[in-house]
Amino acid sequence: MVFVDSYPKTSKLVRSEFLVAFVALGIGALFGVVQALHRTGVFRGFVSSADYYTILTGHGVLLALVFTTFFIAGLFTWAVANSLERELPQRIAWSAFWIMLTGTVLAAVSIIGGLVGAPSILGHDLKADVLFTFYAPMKAHPAFYIGAALIIVGSWVAGLAYFKSLWEWRSENPDERIPLQTFMVLTTMLMWYVSTIGVAVEVVAFLIPWSLGLIQNVDPLLTRTLFWYFGHPVVYFWLMPAYLVWYTILPKLAGGRLFSDPLARVVFVAFLLLSTPVGFHHQYTDPGIPSGYKFIAMTNTMFLLLPSLLTAFTVVASVEHGARQRGAKGYLSWLRNLPWGKPAFAGCMLAGLMFAAGGFSGMINAGMNINYLIHNTIWVPGHFHLTVGTAFALTAMAISYWLVPQITGKKLRQRSIATLQPYVWFVGMAVMSNAMHRAGLAGIPRRTAEPTYDEFAFEGVAGTVGEMRIQIAIGGFLLFVGAAMFLIVMADTLLARRGGTLSVNSNIPEPLSGADHSPRILDNYKLWTAIALLLIVIAYGPPLASMVADGLFAPGSPPIPV
């Protein structure tokens, strides 16, 4: 039975969420290639260097906030319905969709306003050239902050739909273990609820009233601390859905089954516990924060490596098991027995491989003292284009090749483009990210329209700056081509007529070591959430208390339009 026929209502929801995600991906990718060509000086004819930052804001918000959140909503909706075998509560789930879409439109319109002369709307210039991090006291149009808040609130409501499904299922199955996919979804959502408190307080209590003129000042250090309280866990909000795919679908695509259900649950619980009390590692170079708190965040960050290292083991072991089921022999030659020509499989594998590289550069970022060499250099975007830009984005694209046919009932079209697409993305990212990392070591900053200065010139540690620039431009262009290839396949598939029998289905094989082997305490959400909150109180309580002790809005800064 095809998923769309079993759960037609939920399928429609997933389709709508994916559609918004894909539109955001298309616009975001276009903005991306404009930047890659502009900042490398290859072609600067699209926008002026002043408008570059509008494009950069759009790229960050559309890809890191809109594309991710909508795609994750779609994937989670499918995963909950599939593993609990029921339609999602429609009213809640659709309200979530419309709230998020309203927020997206508000944020997008206020960003685009900056490209069309920033007309005055409701007494404020309609622009939001404040980048994805919107550090106060740079001020955007209030609609931008309200839009960002609505996207978050919408995702909270979506989470409610998943929990409601679980409660319905639980009343019918009082003694069963929570199915693994639902367990992963709900653990991720709990982490998300806990971590978005920071940005919600920042935006709702401070930035919205401040941008409207209701309060005069905000404390820039306090608001950015609240941002980073959310700013690191958000990367796990991107990553955990990719892990859901790698743990539960990838082994099946490889022809096998998951190695261990208990370990998968342990990994997700570890993320719930450790994702949030680490935000200060984005503020290693911030004044006003005692180094002791930075040290605590550093140790927590290092322990966050553990669930990812365990994942590397489990995923590789599961895929190897799949290869051996397909008749593979030998220590390494099993790699040849994998379906590298299937875009869903190849995309996930390449994404995972690249995530390993991203993990290593992340260890450098987390290293409190070596971080000084690379903080705010282009090394950092080099790093996160491997993580969110590949581990998440390429996994999302790859799994769409597998999932979209199931939520539409239509066979995947343009198969040859789909087959090549993950490789194009991989090569483009390898070239671009590698050069970005090296350029970062030469001290070249991120977030700049023209990384050249009148007072001095940069010098490459190895290789020349010119050669790195060309590689960034070529890589960025290949990535744009990769995104376009994906969107062509999706558009052609979505617009096609339904016909024939699908070769894919949503049945997930039982793990080698099943849920019976995992202790029941792992499913105790109350316990883990309580511990997570406790760890946050330890890491954030004292520094936040000292920041607000001198007054919530002091030392204060009035809004400064940019």
Binding site: R44, S48, S49, A50, D51, Y52, G117, A118, D125, R336, N337, L338, P339, W340, G341, K342, L350, L353, A357, S416, T419, L420, Y423, V424, F426, V427, A430, V431, N434, A435, R438, G443, A449, T452, Y453, D454, E455, F456, A457, F458, E459, V461, A462, G463
Partner: protein, 182 residues
Amino acid sequence: MFDDVDGPEQKTLLRLLIIVGIGLPILIEVVTFGSMMGHHLTGDTGGEAVPGTPTAEPAGADVGDPILKSANVSARIDAASVVTADDGWRFTLTVNVTNTGSDPTAVRLDSVTTRSGETVADTASTGQLPVGDTDDVTQSWLLPPGERPDTVAVTVFVYPDGESVQSTQYTVALGDIPVSNR
């Protein structure tokens, strides 16, 4: 391998892509590492031995610098600023002119060319300066947003007998003029 792909061409292509995709970054890393070790072994340990970062190209004229190589006048930049706004970046230049020749003279600021090659014309001139006199001339140009001034065109007029006029145009390269928002 690739047993689920149609056609041998695509298999070859895929194999090639895998080799390029994984080989290329490894190659770059090996070259990077090799050149770093090379520096290390030859005693050139990067940061310590290289005295800082190299300076950029020799810059043009800054505030306080003389700008015209003319026998008739001496001129220097008294003030220069670039101020950002949504409708454009305003470049304002004040030049102090002294008539050092033997005939009356005048200096006119003509146009500014930006670093991306756009020219904005708006002129301002000193009056006719008697020998030995000094005057300031100020003009501002609204450059497109994001544009910084590169050169300014300046014309020197000399009036040998009060009637006829000889003019010479100079293109003055500007140095690093810091940008501000007010």
